[in-house]
Amino acid sequence: MTGFLALEDGTVFRGQSVAAEGFAVGEAVFTTAMTGYQEIVTDPSFSDQLVCFTAPMVGNYGVADGRSESATVHARAVVMREARGPAWTDWLHERGIVALTGVDTRSLVLKLRDAGAMRAVAVTGSSSADQAVTVARAQAPMAGRPLATTVSTPVPYIYSDVGRARIAVVDYGCKRSILRRLAGAGAAVTVFPHDVASDELLRYDGVLLSNGPGDPEPLVDAIAVVRELLGRVPILGICLGHQLLGLAAGHATYKLPFGHRGANHPVVDRATSRVLVTAQNHGFAVAPSEAREATHVSLYDGTVEGLAFPSERAHSVQFHPEAGPGPHDAWPLIDRWVEGVAYAEAA
């Protein structure tokens, strides 16, 4: 069956459908990661997005249970140059995901890079392209959408109950890799919904603000909670958590034109001049800043990739130290944080 992707500017990219029938509405974005397709589509940060892979072939090594970053597929649709099945395409089909293969992803990516991420619709079958474009334009833009509230856990749960430090994770759309790395670093991990009160969190040795989808700015309650936590408990922010910490500390966030999504983003650690090759997945960012607390900077566009407030015992990174998928260069960041929290508790 044929299918197509219609962008809000009226451009249509045609391909073949390889998974579920129907249509999917969302923001068209691209990722340059060459491996980790299963991790990517199950990452809650891809909520309400149609993910285009720049990788030439997707699906070669099948699927496996342990690789998913959450219980469900969060990407609304998957757009590929060449999908390889049947394991991968069957897996998408069973989960009701619209997936297109044979799409000229290079042109699509160049378009998104020039014009920015766009509202779009992925459609299977022979619907009208004009109608699809109208539907694409009818959806709300990503800026201003508090999506984290839609993917957070409804109730608190314990991920691992023994450890040298008791860590509370605020789930704005948390990836399993973060929980796995925390537990691996020796933390006892409890996960809380996005609207948890600060009193609850202050009972822990450290608070991790997770990654998540959407715009950080409308999450005013979450930002207020982070402000209440500042200086009272050690904080580590990752991705959306980094943006929330930035907003709580008075920095501004803005929507990047086409985002940072991939596994090859160079980030310089200002203190050491060392370059980390990082996994990234964000459409919003903390605005460039010369302030001392901006510890990490993107070598691509100067956006703030890390913040540190030593006197408040809070720091954050925009990239994904937990990888999943991506390089492990920044793994030690989580280990060192847990170690520091445990050390402070013991002292």
Partner: protein, 402 residues
């Protein structure tokens, strides 16, 4: 860190004659290096015995010497030109071996010439099997279990199937896969004769395992970047030069690939390549996930030439800049013009390399592919899909009539 100002002139050793196992890729690497060193204001001297190379064309270096690539010849040039440094990583194994010999003969110390790109201890750790094994094991990785043999009387207790690898030879010359004690004995005899230091390695066979290569660059700030992954369609047991290879790797999950990436960075650090490019080969068992580090070249290699062409990342150029003190974040990325060289290329296409054989020219030759390279050339295909790239490479060998 800016470039080094304590160096004024730099000599570069070419790779000598074009033979099976090393070809014009080193000429390309040398030209790139000479170009950037000159741009940076260094006086350049090139020594190569092969006048059919581009690097020896007038205008590529300040001084060009067509001299035999042996200790005597190059020592003579160094004595006359008195360069501050010698860059041996662009001329393949020939140049690296020669640099080692020059250092060991005391020539470099006498003339006050510094080895840049790959210091003597790094060359030793990468080339000497025992030192390499120790370095690899020090970071928790494994090489195939093995024993060094320096005489035909030391074969007792060795098991086959095994691989015989002579030390310091080009393209695995004199080595091979052996089955049975008689074959082992014969191959060791050949290998000992071929090796300039009369040393061969008899190692655990990983024949049939998947073979991967990673191209790595590292700077003096310890920034490590993986330029490209290459997957061999022909498994371990067939020389990479004779394998059909694919870049980027297409069959490993993210976790398995990141394991390779971590291992490559760890090996580069353990061997101690401080500034330059390296190529690291791995064998991986698809069923068990077991990993063995097969070898590492602390220099521009045949695979770096492929990786350069495949990704557009100018490895030789970057390696030359790293050798004179730049760090990766200071070198502009030629592809984008706005970002630094400290990034890992990501591809939206597939690259396939196909070997070109010419057995018709060697009627007596054994056509069985093994650990010794037998192809005489290669063709590369680039396509948006694997099939497209594979077919382009296959056709480009120009073997079919009409």
């Amino acid at each position: 860190m800016p470039r080094r100002h304590d160096l004024r002139s730099i000599a570069l050793i070419g790779s000598g004659p074009i033979v099976i196992g090393q070809a014009c890729e080193f000429d390309y690497a040398g030209c790139q290096a000479l170009k950037v060193l000159r741009e940076d204001g260094y006086r350049t001297i090139v020594v190569n015995s092969n006048p059919a190379t581009i690097m020896t064309d007038p205008g590529f270096a300040d001084r060009t010497y067509l001299e035999p690539l042996d200790v005597e010849g190059v020592a003579d040039v160094l004595a006359r030109e008195r360069p501050d440094a010698l860059l041996p990583t662009m001329g393949g194994q020939t140049a690296l071996n020669l640099a080692r010999e020059l250092a060991q003969a005391g020539v470099l110390a006498d003339l006050g010439v510094e080895l840049i790109g790959a210091p003597l201890d790094v060359i030793a750790r990468a080339e000497d099997r025992e030192l390499f094994r120790d370095a690899v094991q020090s970071v928790g990785l494994r090489v195939p279990s093995s024993r060094i043999v320096t005489g035909i009387d030391q074969l007792a207790g060795l098991h086959t199937p095994a691989v015989v690898r002579p030390a310091f030879t080009l393209g695995g010359h004199g080595g091979g896969f052996v089955e049975g004690s008689e074959q082992l004995r014969r191959q060791v005899e050949i290998g000992l004769a071929e090796s300039p230091i009369h040393q061969v390695l008899v190692e655990e066979s990983v024949r049939g395992w998947d073979e991967f290569e990673l191209e790595v660059v590292r700077d003096r700030n310890d920034n490590v970047v993986i330029v490209c992954s290459i997957e061999n369609i022909d498994p371990m047991g067939v020389h990479t030069g004779d394998s059909v290879t694919v870049a980027p790797q297409m069959t490993l999950s993210d976790y398995a690939y990141q394991e390779l990436r971590d291992a490559a960075a760890a090996v580069v650090r353990a061997v101690g390549v401080e500034c330059g490019g390296s190529n690291i080969q791995f064998a991986r068992n698809r069923d068990t996930g077991e990993l063995r580090v097969i070898e590492m070249n602390p220099r521009v290699s045949r695979s770096s030439a492929l990786a350069s062409k495949a990704t557009g990342y100018p490895i030789a150029k970057v390696a030359a800049k790293l050798a004179v003190g730049y760090t990766l974040d200071e070198i502009p990325n030629d592809l984008t013009g706005t970002t630094p060289a400290s990034f890992e290329p990501t591809l939206d296409y597939v690259v396939v390399k196909f070997p070109r054989f010419a057995f018709e020219k060697f009627p007596g030759a054994d056509r069985t592919l093994g650990t010794q390279m037998k192809s005489v050339g290669e063709a590369m295909g680039i396509g948006r899909t694997f099939l497209e790239a594979f077919r382009k490479a296959h056709r480009s060998r120009e073997l079919d009539t009409g």
